[in-house]
Symmetry: D2
């Protein structure tokens, strides 16, 4: 893998090639796993059995603990349209001492581009159907999701694999709009010396947060690097349990006609694979590069929200 980096724009073909709705629907059918597992609402999480957990724990070598959650971002901006809330509810002057106590309120409409979060299976419906085929309108209401909630998922402990694309391509980051294809995934596996296996959590680094720190925030709904749908069948074949990274997995603009988030659609609604969005993987990338190992113990522990469509999270990699 190259160690020379350039900040220049991607010289590749951007977010293409374009995919027709017909092709997309065929791909949806191909990767669909409806009916494969019990409980269905845990989806591909069911792939991770006790054996996987034991093997993942055995990956710990150095004992380095790397958090992947972005700071709770209370400032609105082009990539944080619904800023998180954080208010102090006691500054030692509300409840009587001793001791005096400090307390705070936190809140977030966490889906979007600003907050590190997990998408549960109820987050996405395609043609009105959630993963497994149930009608979204019947299964999700003002009280939350009756199928596919984050509480049904619970925590995930498994092997994580980092696909550090900028490292592989000798860049500081992928440019917004640059697609990651099946071939890029395979090339990354080879260059990084890691192979995606059943039950793995795959994390994609596009270098988004390095770029943000150097160049400032941009509208990540309009343009961000991510997977092209042509990479999804490979991930499906490998049997991943979780997908995520520093973007939201989808390259934007979407290459698929009439589908704004096709990787979300395939992963969540067809494959039952939860997603991790907006992780800061810069420190993880440095740690992996430092040990030249791109797999590790990954722990994701969403809040136990009955009916929740996901959760803000702070995933942890242990190397």
């Amino acid at each position: 893998m190259s160690t020379t980096m350039s900040n220049g724009p991607a010289d590749g073909p951007g977010n293409g090639p374009a995919v027709s709705r017909w092709e997309f629907d065929a791909m949806f059918e191909r990767v669909r796993t409806w009916g494969r597992w019990e409980p269905a609402e845990r989806g591909a999480w069911n792939r991770v059995g006790a054996d996987h957990v034991r093997r993942a724990a055995a990956l710990v070598r150095s004992g380095t603990v790397v958090p992947l959650g972005r700071p709770w971002d209370t400032t609105s901006g082009p990539d944080n349209r619904k800023p998180a809330l954080h208010y102090m509810s006691d500054l030692g002057d509300v409840e009587a001492p001793e001791p005096s106590t400090h307390k705070d309120f936190v809140g977030a409409d966490y889906h979007g581009k600003g907050i590190s979060h997990l998408d549960a299976l109820s987050h996405v419906a395609y043609r009105g159907r959630l993963y497994g085929g149930g009608a979204a309108r019947e299964l999700v209401g003002a009280a939350g999701a009756r199928f596919g909630s984050v509480a049904a998922l619970g925590p995930l402990v498994t092997r994580g694999v980092l696909l550090d694309l900028p490292a592989v391509q000798g860049r500081a980051w992928l440019e917004p709009g640059q697609a990651v294809h099946a071939g890029d995934v395979a090339a990354a596996e080879e260059a990084l010396g890691v192979e995606i296996a059943e039950g793995d959590a795959v994390l994609l680094r596009t270098g988004r947060f390095r770029r943000r720190r150097e160049l400032g925030p941009w509208d990540a709904d309009a343009a961000c690097a991510g997977f092209h749908v042509d990479a999804v069948p490979l991930l499906a074949e490998r049997g991943i349990a979780l997908l995520g990274g520093d973007g939201d997995s989808d390259v934007r603009p979407s290459p698929v006609e009439g589908v704004h988030s096709p990787v979300h659609t395939l992963a969540v609604a067809a494959m039952g694979v939860p997603l991790l969005d907006n992780l800061d993987v810069e420190e993880l990338a440095a740690a992996c590069a430092g040990t030249d190992r791109y797999d590790f113990l990954l722990l994701v522990s969403p809040l136990n929200i009955p009916g929740g469509t996901g959760s803000p999270v702070n995933p942890v990699a242990v190397l």
Copy 2:
């Protein structure tokens, strides 16, 4: 350890013996670790080095994953005075399909008795001073804590030890107001075959949530089982990194004159030990009993909230 259980009231001495303010202050001095670590605001979390992490990972045997976070409780009641918020912000009818997406807002003023959460070092001040001696009034303001925030802690990966007191005492639960003393801790270690060591996270089971399920909620501020302060010097001697359980560690009413939360005060403000409150450890207790092992890999990953005094969490035990 007895397997016969009784639901009868504790026949012991309740929350006593009473402790004078003078005695308490002497105890505070005795267990105080100010100035011992860098960075100071990580407190006893500094005890957990890479070696501890590796040894904790090596505790994984069966690969059983047990979440400890209570369901996000949006219903007010005697033990949930500030109910958590959960609102759906998109039911597939706000953002245009395809796909349609479901989104939600979560919020909580999480300190209190209803929500599983972590107390960071900025949560508690005694005589106006935070852990390390800084003046609370200068260090904590409307923008949050400048010392001892949960973001300074980050995730914890260490060995967890469950002190299942009802199991040891052959009861279904400890009655509200029943104190756990140093002798009870020692007896539990012996009965459960586990020894608390440096860097450990100690979790106390009082059976609170079993009692709640069987008898309904009660005002846990007025009466709950927990540690008497006389147990703290032993825990300090062992060098624990984290303390928690199904209550909030303090027996209530407080046995200490003029101090409503003395174990909070000693643990957080004197020893730099974060606390885990309101964990549901019933499933963990069953898992430990089933394998007759009371130590495990424990993972606590608070949200990365700059200035936060803690975080709602869903800790995970891996057996």
Copy 3:
């Protein structure tokens, strides 16, 4: 009107007589005004034209201003299950001085028994239909109400009439569960020397908040004084534009088989009459008694919330 008061329980027949679903549906048809006004979503508010506003302004005699909004209640309890939120977001230490500024966040899921609020027409549907006949499921979604929102209502300036039932009956308050019937309304008009006219806002005093101050809060969902449905046809005949008071207008328990809030249903869904719930009318009652006049200028100015089903409010009476 009597000036001797007793605190004794109502000696009347409580919340009865019982009303069958069939009778209720007939009553619904009788008072229904669907199709009568444009814009339909302002409902009976359309009755209040410029003439009414002028006549209401002319009611001002003493210039006494009486607010009717309860204090924003952040404490959960049997009659405040979803406590309001109030957090300080700046204590002069966030934004740089000079000047220093103090700021705060307020929030509320305001429907219920604790917060003074207005119910817009989208708040209530009967047999799946909003006022005017539209299907609730089509007209109200996660983005709010497309028909009958509080923003469509806007402010109301009209003549207010206080029906001070405890004053009429020589009691300190009506007991929880005591119904106010058509005959009681007519008797109150006569005793108080006031007649309900077209376009009026009718406010019912049951003495709830005097009772609450003297005896403490109780579960007002389970039992509260309010109108029996038999009083509604009289109010409909008079052509009221707004109905409210210190309860939520409905006597509870409901006397109508299978309908938990029959007055809400008739007023909002059949008649297009918005409701004002949980007003503190104690000071208003004293002011009216002091001048022996029970009509006044009433001003209700809900927040301008597009899609909102109502709004927290602080209505004002000017005598």
Copy 4:
């Protein structure tokens, strides 16, 4: 008053002339009214007695009711950095029918440029002192303000006067950064045929929301039209009770050295005059122009928030 309008940039001197801190402090002393009224925390609101209320009510001629509150703005942007919250908590599928009910949560950190709101006296401190001279740090804490809260103000019913500067100057709007001086106020009174009197609420129209609708939002913290401090002594002399408009009263950038909001400081902290920020007065301006009368009955009814530093509001003008 001219009816020809130009959209061109102001040809005047922008936000100047510059004012030194020394000059500002002298002005603060000159307009200061500390100690003049009881209760002090109602400040200049005390000027509005029953006589004022009666005279204000007598201003009603046509019976036209004009709301002044902007739509609750949940979209973040350059002039709405802390978007308001609005979530549906029941869509007829949470509480059991009949009837079915729709409910919602509203919330806002309402100070700023996006939400129509009232500033109570506790909102602003200068040199650490609130109106009346009390120390801000002692009087405002996490539980709110113990002096100068919005609950202490209560509702205001008084005569309102609209200063429609763009109409006077024959423009569609004042450009961001254009100051309104004492001479402009006097000229507006003459051109509009209205004189500001004791106890009045003065509303300034700069045309902000017409400009916003035509040109889109801009950063109103960086540049907005408003009063230069040299206009304040005139307003003080007239004895106003309330000041507000479509901006936040202050011209920005501030012309005063080291004081970011000098009109806020003089009005609130020196004179005890609450402020109304971000009102949409376009419809009011049209109504006033249509009747050629620029005074009216004004009603402001803030939520009754104990300890609140202000409130979101929807003020109402009745012509």
